[in-house]
């Protein structure tokens, strides 16, 4: 059997082994015959349309290929999409589990409106028209009355929506995009952005000689499956892998070195490696000379020295001399000899050093952003920036095509998103919202949550319950979700949105040294349209296929925007009109058609070669490789037309044209450089210095709030590491996947035998873990896979619901009793765990597990890092054996104490204004940047 070259990426697929092919040949995707697996060995033929889409479970955006039964219109299965350049036809467990999510008997099939008090648990069906009219009316009123800041959209899983929604919210003229990023990756992002202006690393794992991970990319994280493929590819070729992670992850188990540092000491460990490289001269001198802003450092910080690279090298040696392996051992507990070993391996790797940190310690610790900075410092020292086998900045390995007609940003700054105390916060201070409202900083007229579950995911969820319960603070709350969640329970509208195979999104992720796009599409609609049916709205196709009134989200925003501005008087509607049919409402396929026709280099030509339109090409293949082998983007010369009229600053060497930097002169040639103020890699951050953090202007080590010295083990104190994920689950989006929950459904506390003996517990016993604001009770898992003094608990489990048959997926939630025993004092007790239930899926009667895990996040106070704004997840806790009244899953929280802790951490911040009276450095990325005029802090918000 031969496979036509589908795509450049497809050619990388190995020849089918043993005569068997991995995938049906693409020319037969429109009509593929396979035998029914259940009827087998009787040969019952089933005919399928194979329609590509993109997985929606994690952010990796792996390709999926839906097998839609042409007769029943049921999706039989999701396989990988072999033409997808990132995932190359392969998936993790969460890919095929998409099928559970589509056919989940618990899913919400029509819009619901609250009846009675919010959170009271009574609902009535409502028509989409009614819901849209009410929401649009409230938004219109707010816009007309100048209450732009009272509209907020809060999302969990972003994707192409970042651009899509930027269009929407800029058209509305609001500053209303709130994300989950500050409970996730903001610290790591900040660390990278201070270096190179882009906020993620993109390691070229496949070509690395050494892979240094502060992550668990062989099991979780952005971008697990694509990265795991390439990490192991390199390892099989002889690359060495070092994993720095306090607990033994599966990734660490596969590594050549597992270093288990005391949580929060990682920067010390990394700087010790950097120091060894510096002291032993094992770094790429030429790269550091050309591409770091060492001159700026010397001028600013060492006026005593001549501005020569040799002087800088001397200064470096002095600066990091204290970071000996022995010092790092004292801080981290990792043997100095191992640190030396790893440093040597790194030194040998040269510029083929691939590294990654995404959440891990950066998300856990005060100063976590300096860990990312220390890691990137090693990359910079080795000259491994954007090299083959090295680590590139993310944006160079992504393709973000421009949409039709981008509205200009609004001239509004929401202090509920970006309060002035956190001018450098890398994303919105999302998790502080209840406290900001409690302080009277504003209110919300319309609050959307979308695939976001702050009550459950965020720290201090009880403060969210209090906030959402207060209709004076949150006047309307619409939850856009395919499934019930803890947060949906406290909404006014629960609006069912599609899962991965029921949406449109244009995805691009930095999975490797290439740039690609992936097209998420509603496969049932596509299948029905191929049969000649037509629909105005995707939800109609979903209804026709038996899913219910499940909306496609892009269409939701189009419909809503038209209702906000029906006559176009607000200047909003025009952005939601068809580029092909003037004055008519934009159809979702037109939006993508326009992008594919205008904004993706090479796509129209590739489509033409197959006799297809660009849209038809993307509907057929679901992905397109824009550019492969992307390396050394910073070295590219600035194109001559851009240089024309540009002026090179004699001191900084930055080339600027009309006030905007276009490049930097390096050894006489003007190169593209990096999107930083110096256009170079900023070893020294003038921004940090100017914005009141001079002591952190170079990569350094901030002792964490849970550093060894802060913990008195004799008093029962330990560090709780609550951040790790499991390979099979994804935050709160996999509770509807029975196959995943069957594999993983409980989150016991990992405890080293030494600690278990000290506390007097063994595996299966209960343990009480007390934080500053409350406690939780969970079972113990005694293991040699965790450092003594540290207790670890996966954040993936502990889902709950308040009503027996609504409000939560019964595959994955415990029924709980939640009550306020005194103002602000909340007590949760599990009434029962997961139980078999009746449904049209016979498997629901076969549920054999009982535990749903324990919801630890409720007991965490907010701990915002004063620089990055990231919530510092690790908790200083006291562990003890539970009392006679304590039961598995018990939780107690005092929100008065949460507010107290919030104020303590707030006091660590160094507020705006910064230079120029600004709220935030203009150059620093922000998700949806408002107009520069909104950056000025003029005596008030």
């Amino acid at each position: 059997m031969t496979i036509e070259p589908l795509h450049p990426a497809a050619r990388e697929l190995p020849a089918p082994a043993g005569g068997l092919a991995s995938y049906p040949p693409v020319e037969r995707w429109s009509d593929w015959v396979e035998y029914d697996p259940v009827a087998w060995p009787r040969k019952v033929e089933r005919r399928y349309a194979l329609i590509p889409t993109i997985c929606f479970n994690c952010e990796a955006a792996c390709g999926l290929l839906a097998y839609v039964d042409k007769q029943t219109l049921q999706i039989q299965k999701f396989e990988g999409n072999p033409t997808h350049p990132g995932s190359r036809g392969r998936n993790c467990a969460k890919g095929p589990a998409t099928l559970n999510q589509v056919y989940d008997p618990e899913r919400i099939r029509q819009p619901l409106r609250r009846v009675g008090p919010r959170g009271g648990g009574h609902w009535e069906p409502v028509s989409w028209d009614e819901a849209l009219d009410d929401i649009a009316g409230r938004i219109r009123r707010a816009l007309l009355e100048g209450r732009q800041k009272e509209i907020m959209y809060h999302l969990g899983r972003p994707g192409h929506e970042l651009v899509y929604l930027q269009r929407v919210f800029h058209a509305w003229g609001i500053d209303g995009h709130n994300s989950h990023t500050n409970v996730c990756s903001a610290s790591a992002r900040a660390g990278y952005a201070f270096w190179h202006g882009m906020d993620r690393p993109s390691p070229d794992h496949a070509n690395a000689r050494v892979i240094l991970l502060l992550s668990s990319h062989l099991e979780t994280g952005h971008y697990f499956n694509p990265h795991a493929q390439r990490i192991m590819e390199a390892k099989m070729r002889g690359a060495q892998v070092c994993v720095i992670d306090t607990r033994l992850s599966n990734t660490a188990s596969m590594a050549d070195w597992w270093l288990s540092p005391w949580p929060g000491s990682e920067a010390a460990l990394l700087l010790a490696i950097a120091n060894l490289l510096v002291q032993e001269g094992r770094y790429d001198r030429e790269f550091v000379r050309r591409w770091t802003n060492w001159e700026e450092y010397l001028r600013s910080e060492r006026p005593d020295l001549p501005v020569t690279f040799r002087a800088f090298e001397g200064a470096l040696r002095e600066l990091y001399a204290a970071y000996t392996p022995e010092f790092a051992e004292a801080e981290s507990g990792v043997e100095a000899v191992k640190i030396r070993e790893v440093a040597r391996a790194v030194g040998r790797a040269g510029s083929a050093l691939a590294t990654h940190i995404w959440r891990n310690t950066a998300a856990g610790n005060l100063g976590g952003w300096q860990v990312a900075r220390a890691l990137e410092w090693i990359v910079v020292l080795m000259g491994a920036v954007s090299t083959e086998g090295g680590t590139a900045p993310s944006a160079w390995n992504k393709a973000i095509p421009a949409p039709p007609m981008m509205p200009p940003p609004g001239k509004v700054w929401s202090e509920l998103l970006m309060p002035r105390e956190y001018p450098l916060a890398f994303f919105e201070m999302s998790f502080l919202l209840p406290h900001l409202l409690r302080e009277g900083r504003g209110k919300l007229a319309m609050y959307f949550t979308r695939v976001y579950n702050p009550v459950w995911t965020n720290p201090d969820g009880m403060s969210w319950v209090e906030m959402l319960g207060d209709e004076a603070k949150v006047e309307r709350h619409a939850c856009l979700t395919p499934v019930w969640s803890e947060t949906a329970w406290f909404a006014d509208y629960v609006l069912p949105m599609g899962v991965g195979s029921e949406r449109h999104d244009l995805m691009s992720q930095e999975t490797h040294a290439a740039r690609w796009i992936g097209f998420r599409q509603p496969v049932l609609r596509v299948a029905l349209e191929r049969q000649g049916k037509t629909f105005d709205w995707t939800w109609q196709a979903h209804e026709a296929a038996g899913l219910g009134q499940v909306w496609e989200e892009d269409e939701f925003w189009i419909a809503l925007s038209w209702r906000i501005d029906p006559d176009g008087a607000l200047g909003i509607r025009k952005y939601f009109e068809s580029p092909y049919r003037p004055g008519q409402m934009l159809r979702v396929e037109e939006f993508y058609r326009w992008i594919f026709e205008h904004s993706v280099a090479g796509l129209p030509e590739a489509a033409r070669a197959e006799g297809l339109t660009p849209l038809a090409y993307m509907r057929k293949y679901g992905s397109f490789l824009v550019e492969d082998g992307v390396y050394r983007t910073h070295e590219q010369p600035v194109p001559a037309p851009d240089l024309e009229g540009a002026i090179v600053d004699p001191v900084t060497k930055v080339a600027a044209k009309n006030g905007a930097a276009v490049g930097v002169e390096i050894d006489g040639q003007v190169c593209l450089g990096f999107p930083t103020p110096s256009r170079k890699l900023e070893f020294f951050s003038a921004t940090l210095k100017a914005w009141k953090w001079p002591e952190q202007a170079v990569p350094g080590y901030i002792r964490s709030h849970v550093a060894r010295g802060e913990i008195d083990r004799d008093r029962g104190e330990m560090v709780l590491l609550p951040t790790f994920r499991l390979p099979t689950l994804i935050h709160t989006r996999s509770g509807n996947a029975k196959w995943l929950y069957e594999i993983s459904h409980t989150n016991p506390l990992w405890l080293h035998p030494e600690d278990a003996a000290r506390v007097g517990v063994t595996t299966d016993d209960l343990l009480k873990v007390a934080t500053r604001i409350g406690y939780f009770v969970d079972r113990v898992w005694v293991t040699e896979a965790i450092r003594p003094g540290v207790v670890a608990c996966s954040h993936h489990l502990g889902r709950w619901r308040l009503s027996e048959d609504a409000g939560g997926e019964r595959w994955s939630t415990a029924l709980v009793d939640l009550r306020q025993t005194a103002p602000g004092q909340w007590r949760m007790r599990q009434i029962h765990g997961v139980r078999p239930f009746q449904s049209d899926d016979r498997d629901s009667q076969r549920i054999w597990w009982e535990e749903a895990g324990v919801h630890q996040n409720l007991t965490f106070p907010v701990q915002p890092d004063p620089v990055s704004g990231q919530h510092c997840w690790h908790q200083k806790v006291t562990v003890s054996r539970p009392g006679p009244d304590d039961r598995y899953g018990d939780i107690f929280v005092d929100t008065a104490k949460s507010f107290e802790v919030y104020r303590e951490w707030l006091a660590l911040a160094r507020p705006a204004p910064g230079p120029g009276g600004l709220r935030r450095p203009l150059w620093l990325p922000r998700a949806f940047k408002p107009d520069p005029s909104a950056y000025r802090l003029e005596g008030g918000a």
């Binding site: 082994a17 068997l20 991995s22 390979p727 450092r787």
Partner: protein, 509 residues
Amino acid sequence: MRYGFVIDQRKCIGCHACTVACKEENRVPLGAFRTWVKYVERGTFPDTRRYFAVLRCNHCDSAPCVTICPTVALYRRADGIVDFDGARCIGCKSCMQACPYDALYIDPDTHTAAKCNYCAHRVEVGLEPACVIVCPEQAIVAGDLDNPSATIARLVATEQVQVRKPEQGTRPKVFYLGADASALSPTLQKTSERFMWAQRSADDLDLVRMVAAAHDSVEADGTLSRSVYDVSHLPRPWGWRVAAYLWTKSIAAGALLVSALGLLAGAAEGGRLTGLVAPIVTVLFLALTTALLIGDLKRPDRFHYILTKGNRTSWLVWGAWILMAYGAVALAWLLAALADHVGLLWLLAIPAIVLGAAAAGYSAFLFRQAEGRDFWQSPLLLPQLLVAALVAGAACLIPLHVMLGGEPGKLAALALAFSASLVLYAMVLLAELFGAHSGLDVRRAAHLITRGPLRRGFWVGVVGGGLALPLILVWFGTPGAVLASVLALVGLWIYEDLWVKAGQSLPLS
């Protein structure tokens, strides 16, 4: 052409994608798995590591499940795939006992056996199995082991590969590359009562606790690995019905067997006891045996498939024919006795003895085909079953003889036969449990009975009540002999029960 798998554990990251893709492809119900990933951990912090193993059907070239399957519901295809046909399966669960790898389960919807079938329905259209294509690491390699240019054949030829339990002689076609030995061998693992992110099923947990209680000091060895993630398998597929079947069959076999032996030895004349009662007991207990066998099927409605779709290699099928033949002889015996035709009885005595022994003993060959269960592979099983039939036969004839008011002289002869066979039985039992064990699992199973959680039943019910006491009581007149017989029968039943339980208590994977 021989399809097989190479599982490259050097690359496998333990992500469970294969598990879920398989469930999706084959609609595997909750609680069952056709492929799964086991995790074990070993070492002391910070020198700790976790190891993974992808476990599934081995598509053995010499597949015990195919041999034992009574209805050819399991079969090896010409291309080496061991496939199954649920429409032929009667749900006897013998395949689950035969497979040393825990590969089979009973589908809760169809009540028939299922397992990995190499996605034969995909192979049919030229596609690799679902687990192969989903694997992020391409750690599962499928292909033709006989094709030297196929990747799989090259890997098997040029890399150090291992298979699970090669000593079972099953010729597995799933080859592991770079696997940790302990992840593949349950005897190198310590079990846990829960896993790192999952519970064990309640049934599974009971069994694990029981077995853990019986493990000896070897288990404290720090070089053993701890099982930290695994899936549950149906614990002890064969329950009380199978133990009861062995017992009723002993009685059925023994009643006529002892009578026929008595007839030939001149100790009986074909009177009411040997001529009428004994065959009636045999026929009744054969009926009971059959009822128990059918009752234990997950698809009792298909019991006749054993005869109509019989697999000639399966001792389940041979057993069925033996039992039927034996039943026919017993009926003939009864008719001859009713007709008072002693000559015919003499003629029937030899077939009665041969078929009685066969009825008692064929189970030894059946359990021998249950290759997954090492404890059941004992060479003493055949003598044990034969002697048990003698004990059961004598023990059941004694009270009947008394009830019929038989002569004391004949009672003495019966008592002598009873005692002699009971002594023999005790010797076989002691040799089996305390003699040299052929392997760790055999020793552990024996320990479960003699020292572990089953020990009370053994020492009190079997050794005390079923052997020692009857051997004494039998000499204390008629009531003593009757009581001894009843106690011995109870003891036999208890032992069958312990033996069936213990044999299935140790993990296969």
